[in-house]
């Protein structure tokens, strides 16, 4: 579990090659682009990320911040023009014309981070860190590795609350992260998906910290209600661990949707339910077995055995590069029901079934259209 969120960082270097994000320099300088592009394009955010990841700046921070770039001449002194010129030319070629602006904004970001001058909401969501660092770390995985195709993003309303209900699969919850990137990068109104996560996420060190900073919170009615009332887009995977850790043979078979608590919350807050179907995540870690003994020892719901994990050690944690489709379906309105509807178990069950059927059907449709698992 702890590695779930770590994987994107491993992928970073590999997946950089062809991210779907606009990167003007890539085509122009193919040869140095790989090495230089990596440092130059990501120079500011990853640098800050190094400090962020630990959350707690190590005592050496000022040394890093100030002395980390010893090449920079001190202010006041005229820097040697040749060197700056050469550096500028390289950066210019690699990054396109506006690299000075990028550097400046990166430094401004760094300044805010080292002085603690940024804001988080009461759930611990660090919007700035998510936008500038965490999303850029997940994006290569989204664009280049899984080549996620996003459909029906307009079904998420441009404003006001909405509850995105998605299927859950893949042994490690990468599907949630990818859905978050999909909403963040593709929604015209630039909305943020606030995911509801299992309590296990908030017990694990580092994972809980990253999850909170990414805007995730515990899957409970209280938190979901607060977020929806505030007009946020909330994402929930009602299958939970049953869906995430199901055997490979059961792929794309939706599991039970709990007690329909998410529907009750949507009814109470009168927000539309947006069904979301994710295809491709099932095959990233084909779970052929489950070691109950290990699971019990580690205190996790399941311990996956895949063709590569744990046999190849950490290398077994590299997901298969499947091709993904994330489809958001037509929203299901809940504002037509009377206020007491949330307490009506029959209505809640019917709506839960309706959402579940919609997702299941969309999954089958997408599977029929799919040419191959990997392309």
């Amino acid at each position: 579990m702890a590695d779930a969120k770590v994987i994107p960082f491993d992928e970073d270097s590999r997946g950089r090659r062809g991210s779907g994000r606009p990167r003007p320099a890539r085509g122009r300088t193919p040869a140095p682009g790989k090495a230089a592009g990596k440092t130059a394009d990501g120079a500011q955010p990853p640098l800050a990320a190094v400090q962020e990841d630990g959350t707690v700046p190590p005592p050496g921070i000022p040394a890093q911040a100030a002395g980390g770039r010893p090449v920079e001449p001190p202010p006041g002194q005229d820097p040697p023009g040749d060197l700056a010129g050469a550096l500028g030319a390289v950066a210019d070629r690699v990054l396109g014309g506006d690299w000075e602006r990028k550097v400046a904004s990166g430094l401004a970001f760094l300044r805010r981070r080292v002085t603690g001058d940024y804001e988080v909401d009461e759930f611990g969501y660090d919007a700035e860190l998510t936008d500038q660092v965490l999303m850029s770390l997940l994006r290569p995985m989204f664009g280049a590795y899984f080549r996620v195709e996003v459909r029906g993003i307009e079904n998420i309303p441009a404003e006001g609350g909405a509850l995105v209900v998605s299927n859950h699969s893949g042994t490690l919850p990468l599907d949630g992260l990818m859905t978050q990137v999909a909403v963040h990068d593709h929604h015209p109104a630039g909305r943020h998906l606030r995911l509801l996560a299992a309590d296990l996420v908030f017990m694990l060190p580092l994972v809980n910290e990253l999850a909170r900073k990414l805007g995730h919170t515990l899957a409970c009615a209280e938190d979901a209600e607060v977020l929806l009332e505030r007009g946020e887009v909330v994402g929930v995977m009602p299958e939970g661990f049953k869906g995430l850790g199901k055997p490979f043979a059961d792929r794309y078979k939706l599991q039970r949707f709990g007690r329909g608590g998410f529907v009750a919350t949507a009814l109470k807050t009168k927000v539309p339910i947006v069904p979301c179907s994710v295809v491709g995540a099932e095959e990233i870690y084909p779970m052929v077995g489950n070691s109950r003994t290990m699971a019990r020892l580690l205190g996790v719901p399941y311990f996956p055995l895949t063709p590569t994990f744990p046999w190849l050690g950490p290398a077994g944690l590299v997901p298969l590069p499947t091709k993904w489709v994330i489809q958001f379906g037509e929203p299901i309105a809940t504002d037509g029901y009377p206020p007491e509807a949330a307490e009506d178990p029959m209505l809640v069950f019917n709506l839960t079934d309706q959402v579940r059927e919609t997702i299941q059907h969309t999954l089958y449709e997408l599977l029929v259209q799919r040419r191959s698992v990997f392309f």
Partner: protein, 356 residues
């Protein structure tokens, strides 16, 4: 009653109690202030009448009757010992003291209002809890010991008292971590350490309430409610917004040392034995999972708007304590130096370089 209320304040020898006594006696609605504590206060209590009484003893009932007290403000619910007393004494004052005081109030017909200082740590702090606690949120993991458990027990006795004396208006104020230039809370002690130990892999969300806001809301609760508000019941009191522990460390300019969770308890014990600070288990839980409360009731029902947000409270605290080993201003200046060095010379050269 014609000459104004008689207010009895417990815990007057502490910072908070002393400030409240000095503050409340200037209120025109107050006739007399009776300040009570087991030890004489080191600070000035102004025109208040100090009665040296241990609230753990039945004598407190006599004090109530003698002064025909009508408002009791119970502030002697604290986590830190005053002077040399140990944890046992703190617990006794918190729990037995509350029992005796409430018993005395029950028998005193003049008492019409009771204000009790509690803490948001009654909610505990666990990964299974919702991110934001409301007054009604059921507690999933009750605090297992320490001040938090005392507060839970005190609140239980207060509820019992409220049932037996429905004519008394009872307000329980659950304060978030109180900070300010001279707050003497465990968290203030923690932030005073030169290097902040943190739990590796956790960045708790913290909420603070300013010591001045604490006084304001206590005054608000100690008198008749303003029109359209209700000041009896249980209320969360906290400043707006949230700070992460990592943010507080950076704003203070103090380096942090992440410690693995299993070792944290051990380090806490070492610090306690060395007498540096009392690093209670509940404190460790707070610094692991954090705690944030919802303050809608405070605004809408109690009608209280804190002057300071969480960030402003912390700023005030940090200012009064001076920067740590890594002053944020110096870090910012370092980044600024880099920023000043980078673009201007490169901008012109880069332009020509690209065009060539």
């Amino acid at each position: 009653m014609g000459v104004g209320n008689v207010v009895l304040v417990t815990g007057a020898a502490r910072q908070l109690g002393g400030r409240f006594v000095r503050r409340v006696q200037n209120d025109p609605r107050v006739g007399r202030v009776v300040a009570v504590d087991a030890v004489p206060p080191e600070h000035d209590l102004g025109g208040a009448e100090f009665v040296r009484a241990d609230i753990r003893q039945p004598m407190i009932a006599k004090v109530l009757a003698q002064h025909s007290v009508d408002t009791v403000v119970h502030l002697d619910v604290t986590g830190t010992p005053l002077g040399s007393g140990g944890r046992t004494q703190v617990k006794e004052t918190n729990v037995i003291g509350a029992m005796q005081l409430l018993g005395a109030c029950q028998k005193a017909p003049t008492v019409q209002r009771l204000v009790v200082k509690s803490t948001t740590s009654v909610y505990g702090s666990a990964p299974r809890d919702p991110a934001v606690f409301r007054e009604t949120t059921p507690v999933k993991s009750l605090p297992s010991g320490g001040f938090a458990k005392d507060a839970v027990e005190v609140e239980g006795y207060v509820r019992g008292f409220a049932r037996r004396r429905p004519d008394v208006a009872v307000a329980v104020l659950r304060f978030a971590n109180i900070l300010g230039p001279d707050a003497d809370t465990p968290l203030a002690e923690f932030f005073a350490l030169p290097v902040l130990p943190t739990v590796f892999g956790y960045d708790p969300r913290l909420q603070f309430v300013h010591q001045d806001d604490v006084l304001d809301v206590l005054v608000l609760a100690a008198f008749d409610a303003r029109r359209g508000t209700l000041n009896s019941g249980t209320f969360n009191i906290a400043g707006d917004g949230v700070l992460l522990l990592s943010q507080t460390a950076r704003r203070l300019g103090k380096p942090t040392v992440p410690v693995l969770l299993p070792a944290v308890t051990w380090i806490g014990q070492v610090l306690r034995t060395a007498g540096v600070m009392d690093f209670a288990p509940e404190q460790i839980r707070l610094l692991t999972h954090g705690r944030v409360v919802d303050t809608t009731q405070m605004r809408d029902t109690l009608g209280f708007e804190p002057t300071y947000t969480t960030a402003e409270t912390f700023h005030d605290f940090a200012r009064s304590h001076g920067p740590g080993l890594l002053p944020p201003a110096r870090l910012a200046a370092a980044v600024d130096r880099v920023a000043a060095a980078v673009p201007p010379p490169a901008a012109g050269a880069a332009g020509t370089g690209a065009r060539r």
